[in-house]
């Protein structure tokens, strides 16, 4: 029988122990990535999967790839993901309602079909010759072996990949470049606009937010002389986010002002 089987040590070898502990955890983390609602939690689980894969690479005689996996994936790529998550909004969670009807059952059925096909295929696959470990190829050292291949057989793909990296970096810069649609107004223009505008109501600037004895942050509007809240005194983006507090909760009448008698 010359199937894909490559016996690595006995059933209770260290690698088997490593695999049977780490592989279920990796599988669960990947599954969790699919099921958790928040994108940040997905990112954390993804980082775990990547570190686990790095450990698998090192266990399989690919220490160079293992280190590269940690440096490039968990170091650079995951940080990039988290950075973009922070930019887009950490608490942006997916609504898990389906927009295309029947998509989820179909996806799960297709996944079961595909996964079953792959697993049964792997179980039946044969190599056609006896499997050997990577120890002989790693005899001169893993890094040396990879370098030898990279700079002889694969030197042309290696150069193409470097061009690809530069192109990707340039592309990202072009995409991230941001043109202002309008010129930024200068202080002089703003001043002219204020005094030559339709009314002089805001000539001295907009009113400041409320200052109360118990709260003086920018999220509480100031009170007008008649007791109503001044809409112009809080930032428009705070209003749009719904982060404006109601000033009536800081009124004197709502506070217990009785002084307790000393006993």
């Amino acid at each position: 029988m010359s199937d894909l089987a490559l016996q690595v040590g006995q059933t209770a070898s260290p690698e088997a122990t490593l695999f049977w502990i780490l592989a279920p955890l990796t599988f669960l983390a990947a599954l969790g990535m699919l099921l958790v609602k928040k994108a940040v939690h997905s990112a954390i689980l993804m980082a775990f999967v990547m570190v686990a894969l790095a450990i698998f690479y090192i266990a399989q005689g690919a220490p160079f790839l293992g280190i590269v996996q940690i440096v490039v994936y968990t170091g650079a790529v995951m940080m990039l993901f988290l950075f973009i998550l922070m930019l887009v909004g950490v608490d942006s969670s997916d609504s898990l309602t389906e927009t295309i009807r029947g998509l989820r059952p179909i996806a799960i059925m297709a996944a079961l079909g595909f996964g079953g096909l792959m697993v049964s295929l792997l179980a039946r696959a044969t190599l056609g010759r006896t499997a050997v470990g990577v120890e002989a190829a790693n005899a001169d050292g893993n890094v040396q072996g990879i370098a030898q291949l990279l700079f002889s057989t694969f030197v042309w793909p290696f150069e193409v990949v470097s061009a690809l990296l530069i192109t990707a970096a340039l592309g990202a810069m072009v995409l991230a470049h941001h043109h202002r649609i309008q010129e930024r107004p200068t202080q002089r223009q703003l001043s002219i606009e204020r005094f030559r505008g339709e009314s002089l109501a805001n000539a001295a600037g907009l009113p400041a937010p409320g200052v109360f004895a118990r709260h003086n942050a920018v999220d509480v509007p100031a009170l007008l002389p008649d007791g109503t809240a001044s809409v112009a005194s809080v930032n428009a983006s705070l209003k749009a986010r719904g982060d404006v507090l109601d000033p009536s909760q800081f009124e004197l009448s709502s506070i217990d002002t009785r002084v307790e008698e000393e006993k």
Partner: protein, 99 residues
């Protein structure tokens, strides 16, 4: 233990990634699922390199990592650009051509 067990794990991870790409709607999560699929393929490459006893598989996995890094850079730049104009990172919201 059989080294082919790594291949089964790789197949499962790839399947999970594929389902994630189809089911999830947050563009960043979809992207992470694509990364998961690439990583699963890498695990296969490394395992086959071991079964075959030469390092070509590891070199290919190395190239996959580089291409994945490029893909992440450009893809995240696209997500940021879309987010900037539409204030949403959902893949369902970018449907102007449909209407």
């Amino acid at each position: 233990m059989n080294a082919a067990n790594y291949l089964y794990l790789s197949a499962l991870l790839f399947t999970i990634g594929a389902v994630g790409v189809v089911v999830r709607r947050n563009a960043i999560v979809v992207f992470m699922c694509v990364e998961l699929m690439l990583n699963a393929a890498n695990l296969s490459f490394v395992t086959f390199s071991r079964i075959n006893g030469d390092l070509n598989g590891q070199v290919i996995a190395f190239f996959t990592m580089v291409v994945a890094a490029c893909e992440v850079v450009v893809g995240l730049a696209i997500i940021v650009t879309i987010y900037r104009s539409r204030r949403s990172a959902s893949v369902d919201d970018a449907s102007l051509l449909k209407r």
